[in-house]
């Protein structure tokens, strides 16, 4: 149990002989999502050493992906960041399209932006709500979850499922947007703003909340970059980096939005950045609704997307193309590509290697949480046990993504 500790922690000289306490925080610990263990060495309540241990949700995503065709990976991507699965779908299909060197249709691009932003709102809502929950405020959490629920209904309407969306396809989408999606979205947005007002009233200026979060889990800009932080956690440190701006994909370069950045990189900044990003996402969606063009959503190439059902049922040409695509999959030329999108927690990258057959040769995901988790150690050492929880939450680690 005992381990050697430095003579002084936090500048306090010890005059009493005490022993450090080593405890396992997790994996069965309510704040560890059941998927992480942090081996803590404590001096009283102060964290002397921490060793995050991940992998409890490892499913072998990358190995499984090599087993089927390129399209069969799509349902697996739902289960990466299961809070914002639509972004994963968009990222994976974008990567395959990059390998295929094809340009998807305008409407499809706008729809993909739309669903990405909806997913981002869900993701940030969850993170913000959980940041309240983790410090003991249960009510804001449930309010936020209610607002998220509205978005889930919208997602179900679009994709047919709330979480396991599998909405995008290589070269397009499973479906076009359904009738009445706009009205549904308006309702969601109304609910969202009402809820955000409620949450901010309870939290943003509440001293208990500020005390718990401000100057806790600080990650300075330079350090954050060096650890490979991306997303809200990096922006909270004051670094203006967003994949949507730095390497625009889809139609983000045509849309007008701000990248919120924080002051010091503490938990409170991450909370504020996320709230602001929700507002920016709404702004993007407004523009998408304004600009979205009519037209097809799938590329016009039967070697990449499945033919329309009408052609499949009634013509031999459609039937053959359908058969070939299902049996052999999309034939992706030999090569490699890295394609990154801005996921809920940062840069979600897909590095794909194709050997020219119908199956992925290698599918690698760059999960944003992975880099965040390796920096967690620096953020929690020197703090108190209770600080681990909001800090751990504010980087919003998602087990499905980090463990794959």
């Amino acid at each position: 149990m005992a381990s050697k500790a430095p003579a002084a922690v936090n500048g306090r000289d010890r005059d009493l002989h005490t022993e450090n306490l080593t405890i396992n925080m997790g994996p069965s610990h309510p704040a560890m999502h059941g998927t992480v263990r942090i081996i803590l060495t404590l001096d009283g309540e102060t964290v002397v050493d921490a060793d995050p241990d991940i992998g409890y949700l490892h499913r072998g995503f990358e190995k499984m992906a090599e087993a089927g065709t390129w399209s069969k990976v799509i349902p697996y991507t739902d289960r990466l960041n299961y809070v914002s699965p639509l972004i994963n779908n968009v990222g994976y299909c974008g990567a395959v399209e990059k390998l295929l060197d094809i340009e998807i249709t305008e409407r499809c691009k706008y729809i993909r932006v739309f669903i990405s932003e909806i997913a981002r709102i869900c993701d940030h809502l969850t993170a913000v709500a959980a940041s309240a929950l983790e410090v003991g405020a249960f009510t804001p959490f449930l309010w936020a979850v209610q607002a998220r629920e509205e978005f889930y209904f919208l997602i179900e309407m679009i994709a047919g499922a709330r979480v396991t969306t599998s909405y995008t396809r290589i070269g397009g989408l499973r479906w076009d947007l359904p009738e009445g999606w706009q009205e549904r979205y308006e309702a969601c947005e109304k609910r969202l703003f009402r809820m955000m007002d409620d949450i901010e009233t309870l939290l943003t200026r509440n001293r208990i909340f500020i005390d718990r979060n401000a100057d806790v889990g600080v990650m300075k800009a330079k350090e954050a970059v060096e650890w490979g932080f991306t997303g809200p956690s990096l922006r909270a440190a004051g670094v203006d980096y967003d994949v949507r701006k730095a390497a625009p994909y889809l139609v983000y370069d045509r849309l007008d939005f701000d990248v919120p950045i924080g002051h010091k990189g503490d938990n409170f900044d991450r909370y504020l950045v996320r709230l602001e990003e929700i507002r920016q996402s709404v702004r993007i969606i407004r523009q998408v609704i304004r600009d979205i063009p009519e037209g097809p959503v799938n590329v016009d190439d039967w070697r990449i997307v499945l033919p329309p059902k009408d052609a499949v049922y009634n013509t031999i040409e459609g039937m053959i193309a359908h058969f070939e695509l299902i049996m052999k999959g999309v034939q992706v030329p030999k090569g490699e590509a890295y394609y990154a999108v801005e996921g809920g927690n940062g840069e979600l990258g897909f590095y794909l290697v194709s050997d020219g057959s119908g199956r992925p040769y290698r599918v690698h995901v760059r999960p944003p949480c992975f880099a965040l988790m390796q920096g967690l150690k620096d953020m929690i050492i020197g703090g108190m046990v209770a600080d681990i929880i909001p800090t751990f939450d504010s980087i919003n680690m998602i087990g499905g993504e980090i463990d794959r």
């Binding site: 991940i54 090599e66 990059k98 090569g335 490699e336």
Partner: protein
């Protein structure tokens, strides 16, 4: 058009660079193993590639000629081989792939290092950017490539007793691991505690 990082690297280290290309617009440098740290340091210090994005690895084993899915010329759908071929590869088996991003340039660069199967060791990039730490651990975990000079090279996703490196192409897709004995789970008796 701004200059490509790979061109600068090639100019600076003509000896160490094996090739450069920009497939699908991804700026790529293939370097020799010995030159990796130098190149990474050069990229960090002079090209401002400060952000470690990713480290991964590709096992090129199944790319051996003929590939795993080689088919019968008369019946192209049928795979004639049930196991990945262990044929001779042209070139080293592994390729460790580093991705770095520069915030000021808004550019991404990929650095690839071919590694032989017999000596799967790569100098660690953690000395250059500490953010490579866990990514390299993952590569070690999944491919068994050791990183020379890594401060904490342990498995990261799998448990320490795991046998083999699952993302290698010769690791079976439906493999089983031996069962482990769990200490301290016999009854309620925990060692060291008196009843």
């Amino acid at each position: 058009m701004t200059e490509f990082a790979s061109d600068r690297v090639l100019k600076r280290f003509p000896e160490q660079v094996i090739e450069t290309h920009r497939q699908h617009g991804d700026d790529t440098v293939v370097v020799k193993r010995d030159g990796l740290v130098e190149v990474l340091e050069f990229l960090r210090d002079e090209m401002d590639f400060l952000m470690p994005i990713d480290v991964t690895c590709v096992d090129r084993l199944a790319m051996a000629d003929p590939p795993e899915y080689e088919s019968d010329p008369l019946h192209p759908m049928l795979t004639t081989q049930t196991v990945p071929s262990l044929g001779k590869l042209d070139g080293p088996r592994f390729e460790v792939v580093y991705h770095l991003r520069s915030l000021s340039r808004g550019a991404l660069v990929r650095v690839k290092v071919p590694v032989d199967e017999d000596d799967p060791v790569v100098p660690s990039g953690t000395g250059v950017l500490k953010g490579f730490n866990w990514f390299e651990r993952e590569v070690f975990d999944m491919f068994g490539i050791r990183f020379d000079g890594h401060p904490d090279l342990r498995r990261v996703l799998l448990y320490p007793e795991f046998e083999g490196h699952p993302l290698r192409k010769d690791y079976p897709r439906k493999g089983y691991q031996p069962r482990l004995d769990m200490p301290g789970l016999n009854g309620d008796k925990v060692p060291g505690i008196k009843e």
